[in-house]
């Protein structure tokens, strides 16, 4: 579905992503993990054409650089971590914008298929009670669900998520990841996401690429990539030991853990 070949991103003399290649097939959820400054978000930006790059990114065999923005948006959609909406648009107005790629222009956005998809997206994300509410009054989690609903209404085949639950509490974190997992169950769909939380990456990712200083250290199925040896080498610490201490304190019957 997605083929990334020799992707390099430079900002001036600085190389942020250095000649990386990977691919993504339908049904896969690819987690891009690695420490800060590894170039994870830059990969996402390159795939969504937000930054210039060298190399090739092919979606279903076609170079994305040769596709129109609207055509590309019909195939892939991006959910970023922060949203600062300038004005008090209603939740419904923001969600409906998701149909732009399928029906652009002033007169667009009135097809029946579009209406059904918008209704489904609203129902799936549970945003029905908020439809007439201004997005300026929403909490961070509700706002992220609004944009997830917009993305579902957009109906792409590839979801690109950049730290989708970075500032969200546990309830919203769970909601967002479960919604995406459910979305992925439909055939012909795939997800690529940048996550900092290694536990979430292990729990939800089918595949992973582990990055360090702009290069891929390991790529493949999640369990093969996120091994103690790989993670310890990249993060320069005993990751598994830390995770076991961190999460071990929540084991059933355990009282107070010690960190």
């Amino acid at each position: 579905m997605l083929e990334v070949q020799n992707l390099t991103v430079r900002f001036g003399s600085l190389t942020i992503v250095d000649n990386i290649s990977f691919s993504l097939a339908p049904g896969q959820w690819l987690m891009v993990v690695g420490p800060n400054g590894a170039g994870k978000t830059t990969i996402i930006s390159a795939i969504s054409r937000a930054v210039p790059y060298t190399g090739q990114v092919l979606f279903e065999g076609r170079d994305i650089r040769h596709q129109k923005t609207r055509e590309l948006a019909q195939c892939m959609g991006v959910l970023s971590q922060n949203h600062y909406v300038g004005y008090g648009f209603t939740v419904e107005e923001v969600i409906r914008l998701g149909r732009y790629a399928h029906a652009p222009g002033l007169l667009g956005g009135k097809q029946h298929a579009g209406e059904a998809l918008v209704a489904q997206a609203i129902a799936k994300t549970g945003m029905e009670p908020y439809l007439k509410q201004s997005v300026l009054t929403l909490s961070g989690g509700e706002l992220q669900r609004t944009f997830l609903a917009q993305l579902f209404a957009q109906d792409p085949r590839l979801l690109i998520l950049d730290e989708p639950t970075n500032h969200l509490d546990l309830v919203y974190q769970k909601q967002v990841f479960q919604l995406v997992q459910e979305w992925l169950r439909q055939p012909g769909r795939a997800v690529i996401s940048v996550v900092h939380d290694l536990s979430l990456a292990r729990a939800y990712g089918t595949h992973a690429i582990l990055m360090q200083k702009g290069r891929i250290v390991s790529a493949g199925a999640t369990q093969e990539v996120m091994t103690p040896d790989n993670l310890n080498a990249v993060y320069a610490m005993d990751v598994f030991d830390w995770m076991q201490r961190l999460y071990g304190q929540w084991a059933p019957g355990e009282g107070e853990g010690t960190l």
Binding site: L72, G86, G88, F89, E93, Y100, L106, E115
Partner: protein, 343 residues
């Protein structure tokens, strides 16, 4: 789920048209010489149907060659500037963006001052030289200001935009002043013109404004959904499939042309694009499919009433129109700025 139209409905169009016509009529009747409503309507009707206006000779002499073209120009300039302000505020996701605050009007003004001072004109088209330079300078100013602002702060925050706008305005004004210093006998024309006035407007001017508004205002109205996407966020706009670069360029060109045409006809009339969209947003909401048409009517009404004040406040002496709009606009500007800071 209940379906509803996002755009302006026929009832809203009818309501806004009725209010605008009422204000238009009021502005035609009221002035240094008061014209009774009945007489005014009769003169207008006779003029439209080609009938003789002999019975109302005095009213017809004031109304048809002087007041009507002026009032029409005022309404059209108001509509253009207000539409530009609304579009700019959506595009830049910034409620303080406007031709005046961004320095575009000063840029256009500099172009026009140069044209007047150096007698640049197009043969057979009296306003042509001023207009071409005003439009070109408006566009170049907008590009300069935005590229500088992007370079300093890619999120185009309110403070950066305002700061660059103020600096650019001062820069453009200083060059204008320099030109005026050496303008000799044209100083008076230029000075009066920079204060903004539609005194002595002609039907040709009104026709020109109408043409620009139909074409370039139409382009802005056509991009209402794209402006919604920009107002939500540029990254989001790209993600949902908006061709960000093309739309931005198209909208900026349309805005530059409209501001350039307005400046060349009326001089610098500040803050119309800031005040009206802000007021209307509380009625229509931020959706540009409703806000842009409302801005057309709202801008026309706002400038018509400002012009009425300019004509009657110290009557028979006339104040420059720009003085009234800048006075109201600066107060609204402070209000929005404080509100944005406390949010």
């Amino acid at each position: 789920m209940k379906k509803r139209t996002e755009g302006f409905g026929p009832v809203e169009y009818a309501l806004f048209t009725a209010v605008t016509l009422a204000v238009l009529l009021l502005c035609i009747c009221v002035g240094s010489v008061m014209l009774p409503l009945k007489e005014t309507v009769a003169v207008l009707w006779n003029a439209l149907t080609g009938a003789d206006n002999e019975a109302y000779a005095l009213a017809a002499n004031i109304l048809l060659p002087v007041r009507l073209p002026r009032v029409l120009c005022v309404a059209l300039v108001g509509a253009c500037l207000s539409l530009c302000g609304a579009a700019m505020q959506g595009l830049l996701k910034n409620p303080l963006a406007d031709g005046t605050t961004l320095g575009v009007s000063s840029g256009a003004s500099l172009g026009a001052v140069l044209a007047i001072a150096f007698g640049f004109s197009l043969p057979g088209f009296p306003l042509g030289g001023t207009m071409v330079l005003a439009i070109s300078f408006a566009f170049v100013s907008l590009l300069l200001i935005l590229s500088l602002a992007y370079r300093l702060d890619s999120s185009l925050s309110t403070n950066t935009i305002i700061l660059i706008g103020v600096i650019f305005s001062m820069f453009a004004s200083s060059i204008s002043s320099l030109v005026i210093t050496f303008a000799g006998d044209k100083v008076k024309t230029i000075t009066f013109w920079t204060m903004g006035s539609l005194q002595g407007s002609s039907y040709e001017n009104a026709l020109l404004l109408l043409g620009a508004l139909t074409l370039f205002g139409g382009i802005l109205l056509w991009h209402a959904r794209e402006l919604n996407a920009f107002a939500v966020g540029e990254d989001n706009a790209r993600s949902i499939g908006v061709d960000v670069r093309r739309v931005k360029l198209t909208v900026l060109i349309a805005i530059s042309v409209l501001i350039g045409v307005c400046v060349s006809v009326s001089g610098t009339i500040g803050f119309v694009g800031l005040v009206t969209p802000h007021m209307l947003r509380s009625i229509t909401g931020p959706n540009h499919r409703r806000l842009l048409p409302a801005a057309l009517f709202g801008g026309a009404c706002f400038l018509l009433l400002s012009d009425l004040l300019a004509r009657t406040l110290l009557g028979p002496r006339e104040l420059p129109l720009g003085v009234i709009t800048s006075f109201v606009g600066s107060l609204v500007f402070i209000y929005i700025f404080c509100k944005a800071r406390t949010r």
